[in-house]
Symmetry: C2
Subunit: 379 residues, 2 copies
């Protein structure tokens, strides 16, 4: 049977055909009023997505490029930074900081767990000289969301800036950059924004810009002062066609309304958790978020074989585990251009896949539990 | 919640993004070697789809245009033709024939039922002077398939040509034009061929071309002699971009293999029927085919309200009933670019929709029954 592809991993996520087709428009030169008009639409759209009045810069890179931009533009070698490490993406902050010779104060958190604001508060009291706190809004490797709003309230009263990796959380979790006082937010195109990979985004508060002024860390392509100076043009040739698509995707998100986008992700996540529970399976996370649901692979099932079966035979791409969780969990994304029947497909694939591997779960039971959530929510 | 659209009606059917994007290629002039190369690919692809060595002509029209072409090119005013009328599309043959002053011998069949080859044989004995027999391979209005192979065997031994409307059946049902001896087969782009609407196709046997030579029915745009003379060019400007897409779609079908395409549709149809039965609902058709499954709307449910709820609230477009079946049935298509999870979505939508309208069916039960078929088939 032909395999239709269901991309249910936490990025890249499915791109709506409206956006795909926009990318097939003729490539025009980026130094034209025509292109700048499109770029302005994209930039305005990003302000809405990030809920900020500040500029949001567009980089031709992956999200990791924007992470590097944050570290390289905010800090000097030897500066002290607090890094919350609760999974693979927290580790990435630590690695980038180390590469830029930042003095890292690591807060290790068990994978699947999260940090309480009170705990961070105490660490900040202990390290009054910390210039920045690096966090991960949604730790995609464990499906865990942190309480960014309360964390921001804690950091706001210190000298440090709060930097958050919102690569996967943007649009899946409520995020009010200005209102909450998150100083630096970064994200990428291939997640909640519903674009192909290739763009990263970063926005900075006034407090953060002050640090940028004093930073002498080596940087060129990611030098944010150059992006600020050119805005709304670009210092280097931008990814023109991806920016057409960005303008289109932000328009779609405006049409839906960002609160509705957040709410949609909340309902989808709840339905999946309900389905997983109904099948008698166990969640990994102690504070599961709306980006993806991490599920423990049941005893006796080969986790790698399971996700491979679903991908190669069913066309359903779930994510496996990363790092030491490899083979031990699988992750169902509810991120981006997703709606309820994508969750039905995911749960149905889990039901069939587990049975096919000899682990008996009741066919239809997970789907039923998800349907109950959708009917309860009236969607 | 955003509505993702699930097009589960029997045409237009979902177009794969590979094909959609092909349509975004630059339009080139049709009188160029470049375009003829593409058209040749499309023409070769159509021979495979129709399982014929004869030319298959491409018309810029809906399927109905090709139906008209068949009548206008084969017959003269006053000629006698047998028309099997087992639903809305059989009625269309009758209407076109009447408009061309053909002497129609109607075989009325109850909607949902089908004609036995033996019955047609007797009618052909009675009407030895019939020039053509007009049939509908898949009567989409009732979800019923006829036994085209046996019907062809019956017509082959007579003076009449067998004409079949395969608009919806092409690729969903086995159809071997040359081997079975079907004289004229017509189809359209927006069904099994997985294209947007806008193209129709027609192929004729030698026996049929002999009738074309003697036909003086009025025609111009649909004059098939002009198409034959120009082939593989076109007498009038063709729908260039749709033909790019046709070349691409036929390539996809070749990659899958036509036997696999037929088999896929068979399995999808069986799964849906199993799901519908498990929910305690009733089928309309006495010989249900692989194009769509027609289900009787249960007592107490408003059929129009039901399909509207699914379409407007869930984004799931099923078809309602046509003619006197309006409001009395709904139809789930398994046609074209469809795979197993589309059927899961359809059944899940039916489960939720009926419950939402107060008609209790067990959530997940239809899905479960479909999953059982998929697991049994090992797909």
């Amino acid at each position: 049977m032909i395999k239709k592809n269901y991309l249910l991993a936490p990025g890249p996520t499915p791109v709506p055909s409206r956006v795909l087709l926009k990318g097939a428009d003729d490539t025009i030169h980026h130094r034209t009023p025509q292109f700048i008009e499109i770029a302005k639409k994209a930039f305005e759209g990003l302000k809405y997505l990030f809920q900020t009045q500040n500029e949001v810069f567009i980089l031709a890179s992956s999200g990791t490029g924007a992470m590097e931009a944050a570290v390289a533009n905010l800090l000097n070698p030897g500066d002290k930074a607090i890094v919350v490490v609760a999974g693979k993406f927290g580790e990435r902050w630590k690695e980038i900081c180390s590469n830029f010779n930042v003095n890292v104060i690591e807060i290790p958190v068990e994978w699947g767990d999260y940090i309480e604001p009170e705990e961070l508060k105490n660490i900040l009291i202990e390290h009054k000289d910390a210039k920045a706190v690096f966090t991960t809004h949604s730790e995609t490797s464990t499906g865990t969301v942190m309480n960014l709003k309360e964390i921001a309230a804690v950091v706001k009263d210190t000298e440090a800036v709060l930097v958050t990796d919102a690569v996967s959380s943007l649009l899946a979790q409520e995020l009010r950059t200005d209102e909450w006082g998150v100083d630096v937010v970064i994200s990428g195109s291939q997640k909640g924004v519903m674009l192909p990979p290739g763009l990263a985004f970063i926005t900075l508060s006034e407090k953060a810009w002050k640090l940028v002024e004093t930073s002498n860390s080596p940087k060129y392509y990611f030098n944010l002062k150059a992006y600020k100076k050119s805005y709304p043009d670009f210092p280097y040739t931008p990814a023109v066609n991806l920016i057409y698509q960005l303008a289109e995707a932000t328009e779609m998100i405006k049409e839906e309304g960002i609160e509705n986008v957040w709410e949609r992700h909340r309902i989808l996540a709840e339905a999946v958790r309900n389905g997983i529970n109904a099948l008698g399976l166990e969640l990994l996370s102690k504070k599961p978020g709306n980006v993806c649901t991490a599920v423990k692979v049941p005893e006796g099932v080969d986790g790698g074989k399971f996700t491979k079966l679903l991908r190669d035979k069913y066309g359903v791409t779930l994510a496996g585990g990363q790092g030491h969780l490899k083979g031990k969990i699988f992750r169902i994304a509810h991120l981006g251009y997703m709606s309820k029947f994508d969750m039905i497909v995911a749960l149905s694939a889990v039901e069939m896949g587990l049975n096919e591997l000899g682990y008996k779960v009741s066919l239809g039971k997970g789907v039923m539990a998800a349907e109950e959530v959708f009917l309860k929510e009236g969607v």
